[in-house]
Symmetry: C2
């Protein structure tokens, strides 16, 4: 499901058209560690549709006056939250595994 969203294959020119951001802006947001395109052999940037959505989100924030630094911190918080949730789910699974193992021993 939405399998195409994450494939990095779109050049900066196309991204510029799709977002109506300038190439300068797009490159700058990368400089500020907000987007992470892949590179071709020759070094040209390749973006995904997910990146494009992110860029639109970023530019909205920026035009509202938010500093790119603060946008970055927000991203960081969100990521850490996701990691925490993930770890909790893993912990749950482990406990369940150990419980069922224990039951098997008791029987």
């Amino acid at each position: 499901m939405d399998s195409y969203k994450k494939i990095k294959a779109i050049s900066i020119g196309a991204v510029s058209e799709l977002t109506s951001l300038s190439e300068r802006q797009i490159r700058y947001y990368e400089e500020r560690k907000l987007v992470f395109p892949e590179r071709s052999e020759g070094g040209t940037r390749k973006y995904s549709f997910e990146d494009i959505e992110k860029l639109i989100h970023i530019s909205k924030k920026v035009s509202k006056g938010t500093l790119t630094y603060d946008i970055r911190q927000d991203e960081k918080r969100k990521n850490e939250e996701k990691i925490r949730e993930y770890e909790l789910r893993m912990k749950d699974k482990m406990i369940q595994g150990q419980l069922s193992a224990a039951f098997r021993r008791i029987r």
Copy 2:
């Protein structure tokens, strides 16, 4: 839903990598009216993920020995089928509309 599949934004180089077809092959299949990329202002081709799926399908056929001409005829048949189905659905809707209008008059 799969909203990105039809957006034409991928350059021929990226398509070549994703499909492992040569650029020559990709351009040739266009010459044979099998794919229809858009063009940038400067004239560079832009493909969608849907185009990429189609290209993979085409190359499988070709490597099995099917002529591009026959692949084209197949596509045509499929399209006409779709149009016919569409027209049938529309006809249905019209009949339903007229029926309910008639009923309204009778009441």
